[in-house]
Amino acid sequence: MLEWAQSLLASVPPLLLLTAYMFIFILVLFGCVAYVTLAERRVIGFMQVRVGPNRVGPRGFGQPIADALKLMFKEMILPNDADRFLFRLAPLLSMIPALAAWAVIPFAERWSFADINAGLLYLLAMTSLGVYGVIVAGWASNSKYALLGALRSAAQIVAYEIAMGFALVGVLMASGSLNLGDIIEAQKGSVLHWYWLPLFPLFLAYLISGVAETNRAPFDVVEGESEIVAGFHVEYSGMGFALFFLAEYANIILISALTALLFLGGWLSPFPESWASIPYIGFVLGHGPHMFIAKTCFFIFCFLWFRATFPRYRYDQIMRLGWKILLPVTLIWIFVEGVLLYFEVPPWFD
C-alpha cells in the first residue's frame, strides 16, 4: 500500500507536486490566519475581563468560518471616484507578498519550498512590498481618511524598514549566510547560542519594527480607529476588506515566524540533545517543526498582548522612535558585533 502510494507520488511531475504542496500549505495558512483572529478575540477578551466570541460552534470555534462566509457574500462597494483598477488591485498587493514570503521559511532542517541562498534578502524584499498595497489602497480610494492612512504608512515604513534591515544585517554577520537554514544551523548549541542573546538589542529592534511593519498596536496609526477611522481600508467592504484583514494576520504570523527563525533558533529545541532520546516524550523535546511552531505562537501571543496593553503612538513619535532610537541602537550593535567577530569572542563567534 505504502509502496503503491510512493510510486504514485514519484510518477507525478515534480512541478505539479510542488504546486499541490503549495496549495495545501496556503489552505493551512489561511486556516491559521482565521484562527489567529479567533485567538486574538479570545485572548484579548480574557485580558479585558470579558468573554469574547463563544456562540458559533463549540466554544466559538465556528466564528472565523462564519466571519469568512459573511465577508465573502458581502458586496464589495466601489466608491464613485475611486480608481477602479488600483482599488481592486490593492488588496492583492498586500496579500500576495504576505503569502509569497513563506516560500523560503524552513520548518525543519532543509524543509522549505525554496531553499535559496539569498533567502534573507528575499524576505526583506517581500515584507517591504506589502506596504504598497496599503499605499495604493489609500490613494485609489479617493477618500481623505484613506489618503491620510496611506501617507502615514509611507512615512512609517521608511522609518522602520531601515532599522529592520540593520537588525537583519546583524544576523547575517553572525551567521555568515543569507540562507535561512544556515542561519539556524549557526545557532546550534543551546538556548544561549540562539541569537537573541548575543544580538539582544537587534532582537528587540527587530521585534518592535516587526510590530510596526504589520501595523499593529501600538503602531496602528495607519488604521488608527479613533483618529482616521480605519485609515487605508476605510472604503473597503466585503472580500476587499477581508483580504486586507487576512494579509494583516498573515503578516503577524510571518513576522512571528521570522523572529523565531532569526533570533530563537527556529526548529532547534531548547533542551539538551540527550533529552531527545527519552522514550515516548523524546520527540517532543527534540528538534523539529513543533519547536518552530511553538516559538511562533509565543510571538503571536505577544502581538495580541501588546494590543491589549499599549496606547497608540502618534505617527511622528513612531518616526522619532525609528530614526532616533532604533536606528542608532542597531548601528552601534552592528559595530559591537563586528568587534566581537573580529576577536572571535566565545561562545558565539568562535
Binding site: E225, T309, R312
Partner: protein, 417 residues
Amino acid sequence: MSELRNYTMNFGPQHPAAHGVLRLVLEMEGEVIQRADPHIGLLHRATEKLAESKPYNQSIGYMDRLDYVSMMSNEHAYVLAIEKLAGIEVPVRAQYIRVMFDEITRILNHLLWIGAHGLDIGAMTIFLYAFREREDLMDCYEAVSGARLHATYYRPGGVYRDLPNEMPKYVESRWHNKNDVKKLNAARTGSFLDFLDDFTQRFPGCVDEYETLLTDNRIWKQRTVDIGVVSPERALQLGFTGPMLRGSGIEWDLRRKQPYETYDELDFKVPIGVNGDCYDRYLVRIEEMRQSNEIIKQCITWLRANPGPVMVDNHKFSPPSRGEMKMGMEELIHHFKLFTEGFCLPEGEVYSAVEHPKGEFGIYLVSDGANKPYRLKIRAPGFAHLASLDEMSRGHMLADVVAIIGTQDIVFGEIDR
C-alpha cells in the same frame, strides 16, 4: 501656478472619537491642525423649551438626559434651583444621600471619561476595566430609583425614597451558574449601604489598576504631556470650570467655594494640576475619583448612624404616602394637585449651580408665579470647553485632536441640550 490649499477634513458626526455627534471641520496642513471648527446642534432636543411647557416636577427627567453620563448631578442643580426659589429646607439625611449620589455620579462620569479617553488614545483595555466598576455603581442607581441611567431620584424637597435595606440579587440562569451567582451576590447580601461600602473598599485598588496601565506608561505620557496646554489666565477667560480649570492650576471647586448641601461638613481635598495639559487633567480626574470615594465613605458612616426622613413633610411639594392618600381628604387633594398641576413657585429668578463632574452645571430659572418656568437656562460646562477646542488643538496633529476631545470630556447631551 495653482494655489496651495489646506486639507479640509470632516471629522464626524459619525466618527469613533466624536463622543456622540460632534461635527468638526478640520483645516489641516499635512496632519497639523490649522483650524478646528466644531459644529454643534445635532443632538438638540430643546430641553429648555420643553421645560417651559411642563410643571416643574415633570422636568426632572429631562435633566437626566442632558449630560447622560452624570445624570443625578444634573437633577441636583435643577431641584436646588426650585428649592431655593420656593424656600424649602431639605432634611439632612436627604442632603447626605444627594451628596453621596453626586459623588457616585462623579465616579461614574470619570470612569466613562477614562475609558473613552483611553480608547481615543488607543488603550482599549482600560475601557472595559472602567465599565466593570461602572456596573456596580449603575446597580446603586437601580437599587434606589429603579433605573440604571435616567434615575429621576432627586425631587424638590428631598429624594424619591430612602435607601433600600437590601440589594437586588442575581438568580441562576442560562448564563450564570450557581458559582457565578454566588460570586456575583457576595457583596449583595446586606443593605444598599453595605454594598456601596464594599465598593468603596475595592475601588481604590481598581484606580491603582488603571494607573498601572496608564500613569507611567511612556506612550500615554508622550500622547498627553504638553498636549492642549491652557494657561490659568486663559482657562478663566474661556470660562472653564471643573477639572479643566483645576488642571490648569486654579483651585476652584463649588463644593468648597460655595458649599451646598453638606459639603462643608465633609473632609476632602481638591486636586489641581500644574501645567494645564492633558496629562495634568488626567491626574486631576484620577485623584478626584479617589476623593469622591472618600466622600462616599464619610456619607455611608453618617447615613448608617442617622436614620430619618428623606423628604420634606410639606405636601405642597412632596406627595403624601399612599396609605394617607387613600384615607384622608386633604391628602387626596394634595396628591391630585401635585400630580396634575404640580406646584407654583413665587415670582422671581434664581441661579443654582453644582460642581458637576465636568464643571459648573447651573440652572437659571425665571418664574412668573405659574406652575411651570417662564424661562429655564442651562449652563452646561461642556459648551465652554468645546468652544476652546480650536484654540487648544491649533498647531497640534490630528491624533492630538482626538486626545483633546477626550480630555475635555464632552458629552453632547449637555452641549446641544
